[in-house]
């Protein structure tokens, strides 16, 4: 039987003006189990807390109820006071007689009566409270960043600068990501490479950062503070430690017809290649599908010419296991495939290109050395038409229902750059809405229209077709209520972006939830925007939702702050109010594991004694208290009632219900 102490707070006049606090304290004295009941002006004050501590000691209290303000306000305060007096902090319950009583009722009798019921309800609960202990788990002081684009680079640099080890796992042969492919960046028009490549170099030179390029995460086990990750280091057929990046292999390779992914397939590259001049690591990789030696066994020219003997055609994928305390997912995006948008003629016309292809065509290091030419005939286009929202805001099933967010700005950028570099070019932009919120963003777009004379047409294109090599762009001009056809030399499609498809696998490995568009879900849209619901997993960049470079960098730094905040701790206190299964009642059905949003529930084979010396091995549930967040979804799902929640047990809630009803 608990020895319960009850402490009714006046909160000055906040409670006492409407609730007869003395009467409440007096009435409660008669409750079975209550051995002490007191009221005081400010329970949360030094003196008030002392009063509680003294009473606990003097009356050997085993549990206390404080009738005061909302537990969201002072539960922690009173728990600490109880702990200081030697009581387990979870033996404290709060009856909210301020926000839920004195402040909303006017009649004193009615409010007093309700306060008594609320205190009785808390007593009913506290009678069933049991001491709870927060667990502790150690923290591995190393972070994993998945994805080596600008998001991953920024997060890694920030974490490493705080003194923690970071590994960047990048599936491509170099870090840099999409930003490395861009020409200029809005709204200031800095050259993308000029601002990105120094950061790439910083990563490579940082003693705390290990870049695992051409690698993929294969398996993730463990939980916050303690992830065990298996990483596949894909065979690049070049010894990373030997290759000096001299590129002689690229020159000599006879198989030069591979599509250059980095240039969006606009030109070709050899079978052995370094993706681009500033690649980090500056190490070659062999495409085994294209390499003559690997396909036919005859060739080996690169091996012959390699001065340092770095070429190794027999290399195999390797696996490494590493431990991490925190994981940042920064897997980025890709433009959608345009198979469902044949009306724009992308598949049939070389001169219908995507915006990312245009970035490469305008880039000094691109396939045309920065000279803007038509892919079909290498001529300078005189009339260029941009089409916005290609595949974005599409609920017909052909595209994506969301706004891709970056297209309005980069199209304004493209239009402006073209008009600046080639003033004789006519530039048209078909738009549905121009969405340019952000610092200096709308000004940027207006500059394109007002100063650079870009022709913005409110309307959408219905068809692009080729007549004698000219691209006829037929669309609506809604302002003038006309249908127009613009004879163009080049058509640029502002193609919707979608999360890099590999994010699906990553999400599964991390039990991080993913939405219907394959974007990773943040823990709270407003207040926890960089945390995944899975503890210890953080989200940076477009993998979480469409965003531009400034936003991506901000989010990456926010991730880093969260990771550093986690890694500075030696041990993590785990939530005490976690799900707790009764193994004897569990039938191993997995329903609880299915509803768990955190992957806290696993199954173990366990031996049970049956009596008579016999044993049986059964599959039963096991909750990882370090991962469980204590929502209780599993408790209700369990068909056999085997699952309960500490601190909010079924019995506790039932007796609360009973106490309320028995008024």
């Amino acid at each position: 039987m608990q020895r319960i102490g009850v402490f009714i707070c006046w909160c000055g006049s906040n409670i006492a003006a409407t609730v007869d606090v003395k009467k409440v304290a007096e009435t409660i004295k008669a409750e079975p189990g209550v051995v002490y009941s007191e009221n005081y002006q400010y329970m949360c004050s030094e003196n008030g807390q002392q009063l509680i501590k003294n009473a606990i000691k003097e009356h050997n209290l085993t549990a206390i109820v404080v009738g005061a303000c909302s537990p969201r306000m002072h539960e922690a305060t009173f728990r600490k006071a109880a702990e200081a007096a030697g009581l387990n902090p979870y033996m404290v319950e709060i009856a909210n007689i301020r926000e839920h009583c004195s402040w909303i009722h006017k009649d004193m009798d009615e409010a007093t009566e309700k306060a008594v019921v609320l205190v009785r309800t808390a007593i009913a609960k506290v009678k069933l409270n049991a001491p709870l202990m927060s667990g502790e788990s150690p923290v591995v002081k190393r972070a994993l960043v998945i994805g080596g684009g600008i998001a991953g680079i920024q997060a890694a640099l920030d974490i490493a600068d705080a003194g923690f080890e970071v590994d960047i796992v990048e599936k491509n042969a170099t870090i840099g990501g999409r930003m490395a492919q861009l020409d200029k960046t809005f709204p200031t028009l800095d050259c993308s490479a000029c601002i990105l490549t120094p950061k790439m170099v910083d990563c490579a030179q940082h003693e705390k950062i290990d870049i695992l390029s051409y690698s993929e995460v294969e398996e993730v086990k463990g939980f916050v503070g303690n992830f065990n990750v298996k990483i596949r280091r894909k065979a690049r057929y070049v010894d990373e430690t030997k290759c000096t990046g001299c590129k002689i292999c690229m020159e000599k390779c006879p198989s030069k017809k591979g599509l250059n992914d980095f240039n969006m397939g606009l030109n070709t590259r050899p079978a052995i290649y370094i993706p681009f001049a500033q690649a980090i690591p500056n190490v070659a990789v062999i495409d085994p599908e294209q390499c003559i030696k690997m396909k036919t066994g005859k060739c080996g020219i690169c091996q012959k010419f390699c001065g340092v003997g770095a070429i190794d055609y027999t290399q195999k994928d390797e696996f490494i296991d590493r431990q991490y305390g925190a994981i940042v997912v920064a897997t980025g995006f890709k433009p959608i495939a345009l198979d469902n948008f044949n009306e724009y003629g992308y598949a049939d016309n070389k001169d219908v290109i995507t915006s990312l292809e245009l970035e490469r065509l305008m880039n000094a290091a691109g396939p045309s050395d920065g000279v803007l030419v038509r892919p079909s005939d290498g001529k300078h286009p005189k009339v260029i038409t941009f089409i916005q929202c290609v595949g974005s805001r599409d609920t017909s099933g052909c595209g994506k229902p969301y706004c891709s967010k970056i297209c309005c700005m980069y199209t304004a950028k493209h239009a402006m750059l073209i008009r600046e570099k080639y003033p004789d070019t006519e530039v048209h932009v078909f738009y549905i809405d121009v969405r340019t919120p952000g610092k200096n963003y709308d000004e940027f777009y207006r500059r394109a229209a007002e100063q650079y004379g870009v022709d913005y047409i409110k309307g959408m294109v219905g068809k692009v077709y080729n007549v004698n090599g000219k691209l006829m762009v037929q669309g609506s001009n809604l302002i003038d209520n006309e249908q127009i056809t613009i004879e163009s030399d080049l058509v640029v499609l502002a193609t919707a972006i979608e999360p890099e498809p590999s994010v699906r696998k990553i999400a599964t490995l991390l039990t991080a939830s993913i939405d219907t568009n394959n974007f990773l879900t943040e823990s709270h849209a407003k207040l926890r925007p960089v945390e995944s619901p899975t503890a210890g997993v953080y989200l940076a960049g477009v993998c979480q939702g469409p965003k531009d470079i400034p936003e991506t960098v901000s989010q990456a730094s926010a991730c880093a702050a969260k990771v550093i905040g986690l890694l500075v701790k030696d041990k993590l206190k785990t939530n005490a109010c976690v799900a707790t299964p009764d193994e004897m009642m569990c039938n191993g059905c997995s329903q609880c594991a299915n509803v768990c949003a955190y992957g806290a529930i696993t199954y173990v084979e366990k031996e049970f004694r049956l009596g008579g010396g016999k044993t049986e091995v059964r599959r039963v549930v096991s909750v990882n208290p370090a991962v469980c967040q204590g929502c209780g979804a599993c408790t209700v799902t369990c068909p056999s009632g085997a699952m309960d929640l500490k601190g909010f047990s079924s019995k506790q809630i039932m007796s609360e219900v009973e106490a309320i009803c028995k008024m």
Partner: protein
């Protein structure tokens, strides 16, 4: 019938959700009969959504829409402008004396080349 009832009737008859329109104008960008329509495909959706049905019911465009479904096919929001045009046309031709094609006119039109399909389809579209 009150005006609201007539609006509701058109909405029901069209079977399409005009509120889904995001006013991109792709329907009118694609329409092959655009220049022959006094009220444009996107306006059919917009005017119905606003309840301005007198303009629709008085339009000549209903006789020139080809029902070619290009607007329906390409709408990014799953709206069917052609169904709105048809709902308006149905409403007009179902009113007494408002047929767009009268049976007695047909003998003068018919020549030796006109296929049955043309007579039937035009009659179905323009007459009730």
């Amino acid at each position: 019938m009150t005006k609201q009832e007539r609006i509701d009737n058109l909405l029901r008859l069209s079977g399409t959700d005009v509120k889904k329109c995001m006013k991109c104008g792709k329907c009118s960008g694609r329409c092959p009969a655009f220049n022959e329509m006094d009220i444009k495909p996107h306006q059919f959706v917009s005017l119905l959504a606003q309840g301005k049905i007198e303009i629709l019911l008085g339009s000549d465009a209903i006789w020139n829409c080809l029902s070619c479904m290009a607007c329906v096919e390409r709408c990014p929001r799953g709206v069917a402008p052609a169904a709105v045009v048809e709902a308006v046309r149905d409403t007009v031709v179902r009113a007494q004396g408002k047929n767009g094609l009268k049976a007695e006119d047909i003998p003068q039109i018919v020549d030796e080349f006109i296929p049955q399909q043309l007579l039937v389809s035009a009659y179905r579209k323009y007459n009730k």
